[in-house]
């Protein structure tokens, strides 16, 4: 038994040394040894081969070229209540008693059934469907057994992901988080000065880089000249808690959020010692005035780091951008929009909080192939004269959607859990009423 213990100890120490030298040290200084690149190249080649095999095996030859936004039913662009109104007006001969026809009900029933088959909103709260399988069981919705070779590669993939990559990643994540706590606590002991800020930024960057390696994250940053500056507000579309790690790899932000208990609480408390983040108590979150005031104070201090906010308020599946809550846009200051788009081929980054807890979500992340994403820094935007917060929010949202290639929706992300407001139905009823009695409302 003793020999076994010694052998295990040796293996462990070799393992840790390798990890430290090959991964930790380069990560801390932002250098890359090229191991990750090589892994990604091999991965891409394998997935391409698998895709070709699957397509050969499938009976239908038509290639699934559709983009995520096309959907499964044909939408009639000219079929709207507005065109109906225009048609009616052209035909109408001063009918006093209204212009109702029995077939009006067709319009609503077709729209209704279309929305039952495929609606714009509920599909955003589940993971995106892939065009071709990426050898992960979790994305295996429509793909069946193809050949022995594909299955073998899949088994090999499972082994690599669960037995080699996953423990490695967990080790890295653990090291990264503990270093974050220890590092920020140490830096927090120093008196406020430029040195402290510099050290704090260094510590934060190092830890996030280690955490990013812990997810095998490959991030491409675009337009770095638009990176958020101090005293500004950074807004981005929200897909998962990992968004924070992705963005913080390239710059330092002041985080905004609720105070949590447990491990997360420990991390939060130590982070705030090193540099000012904005953590709210649960009770304070309800008081909108208080929230706005604290954020405004933070933003007006030009020495403080830019705040990172996700105005959607909830995780969306990265195929669309949903309504931005206007609160963040009322604070003033410069808004730096950022678009984040994950490549679903390598791993599904979306956190479906009703299906998975945080821990099982992180484990899923660590057993995917990799997290690949693109981050675009967009030029800063400010509220224009006479523009209200809601229009400003929509303007920023459109920019982010356009850059990231996402669908721009005005539906509220809160519809994940809550029911839709009656006011929307009332709007439709109003429009229809105008059609059958005319605008003059006689």
């Amino acid at each position: 038994m003793d020999e076994f213990g010694k052998a295990a100890y040796n293996v462990l120490s070799v393992w840790l040394t390798l990890v430290a030298v090959l991964i930790l040290v380069p990560a801390m200084f932002g250098i890359s040894l090229g191991i990750n690149e090589m892994y990604m190249k091999i991965l891409v080649k394998t997935l391409e081969w698998a895709t070709l095999r699957i397509q050969k095996g499938v009976k239908e030859i038509e290639r699934l070229q559709r983009a995520a936004t096309n959907g499964i039913i044909q939408r009639d662009a000219g079929f709207s209540i507005e065109t109906e109104i225009a048609e009616r007006k052209a035909r109408r001969k001063a009918q006093i008693r209204g212009d109702f026809e029995l077939n009006d009900v067709f319009y609503f029933s077709k729209k209704g059934v279309e929305s039952i088959v495929e609606d714009e909103v509920t599909q955003r709260f589940t993971s995106e469907e892939l065009v071709s399988w990426n050898l992960l069981t979790r994305t295996n919705n429509n793909f069946q057994y193809i050949s022995v070779r594909v299955s073998l590669i899949w088994v090999l993939g499972v082994f690599i992901r669960y037995c080699i990559l996953c423990p490695l990643r967990i080790t890295l994540a653990a090291i990264g988080l503990s270093w974050l706590v220890i590092g920020t606590t140490i830096v927090g002991q120093l008196p406020s000065s430029r040195v402290k800020n510099l050290l704090s930024e260094l510590v934060h960057l190092m830890c996030y880089r280690i955490c990013a390696r812990g997810l095998s994250a490959t991030i491409h940053y675009h337009n770095k000249e638009n990176r958020p500056k101090k005293g500004g507000i950074c807004v981005a579309n929200h897909t998962s808690p990992i968004d924070v790690v992705i963005l913080a790899n390239d710059g330092c932000y002041a985080m905004v959020g609720q105070v949590h208990g447990g491990l997360l609480g420990v991390i939060q408390r130590s982070m705030v010692k090193a540099c000012p983040h904005v953590w709210f108590e649960r009770s304070e979150m309800k008081d909108r005035q208080l929230v706005t005031k604290r954020l405004t104070d933070h933003v007006s201090d030009k020495t403080k780091l830019p705040i990172l906010i996700f105005p959607e308020g909830t995780c969306i599946n990265n195929t669309s951008v949903m309504m931005f809550k206007k609160g963040s846009f009322e604070i003033g200051g410069t808004i730096y929009p950022v678009a984040i788009k994950y490549d679903p081929q390598f791993g599904d980054a979306f956190w479906n909080s009703s299906k998975y807890s945080m821990v099982s979500y992180l484990l899923r992340m660590m057993t995917s192939w990799a997290i690949v994403c693109n981050v675009w820094y967009l030029p800063p935007m400010t509220r224009q004269e006479g523009e209200d917060a809601v229009s400003f929010a929509n303007r920023v949202k459109s920019e982010i959607a356009r850059q990231g290639g996402l669908v721009d929706l005005s539906w509220d992300g809160g519809l994940k859990r809550a029911k839709v407001k009656e006011t929307f139905k009332e709007e439709q009823q109003k429009t229809y009423s105008k059609m059958i009695v005319g605008d003059d409302g006689n």
Partner: protein
């Protein structure tokens, strides 16, 4: 196969029905679809999926109701004439619409039923009197046997010039 994609509409596979992948089976599940919840006739449409007294809809019933919306030209010509009329024929599409109005399922649209459905579509924006006169005019124009209600043949006659095919069909892509 690819040349007639826009006219083609094959029978959709079960896994394409978003509804059933997220397990729609009772009325509440339907109401969770925001675009349906804000549709003025949302409740009537949901009702069309459930048979009398049932609170659950299974996949078969779901598909039968959806089949009403298949495009008409999708049916093969020269089909066996003794087989029953397909669900997406013009007649059956009109029957679907008729049933949206016929609240008590007595095969007649009475003035009361018409008023109720009208009220659903216009909300609070039109007065009772105005709505009443709209209903009266509609029944007057459609009624042929003088019973102050619209039966299904009368309904069909009124809509004989309407392009039912375009207004009541949903095409699936590829």
């Amino acid at each position: 196969m690819s040349s007639s994609t826009n006219k083609r509409c094959r029978q959709p596979k079960p896994d394409e029905m978003t509804g059933f992948r997220t397990k729609i089976s009772n009325r509440e599940d339907f109401q969770r679809i925001p675009e349906l919840a804000i549709n003025p006739l949302g409740d009537r449409i949901i009702n069309a999926f459930f048979s009398d007294g049932e609170d659950q809809v299974n996949f078969r019933a779901f598909m039968r109701t959806l089949a009403h919306f298949r495009p008409i030209e999708d049916n093969e010509k020269g089909k066996d004439p003794s087989s029953s009329e397909p669900l997406n024929s013009r007649n059956n599409k009109l029957l679907f619409a008729f049933r949206l109005y016929d609240l008590d399922k007595d095969d007649k649209i009475s003035r009361e039923e018409l008023l109720q459905v009208l009220r659903m579509m216009v909300g609070v924006n039109i007065s009772d009197e105005q709505l009443g006169s709209i209903a009266d005019r509609t029944i007057q124009e459609a009624d042929q046997d003088g019973d102050s209600a619209i039966s299904f043949p009368e309904f069909v006659k009124v809509l004989e010039k309407v392009d039912v095919e375009q207004k009541m069909s949903i095409r699936f892509l590829h």
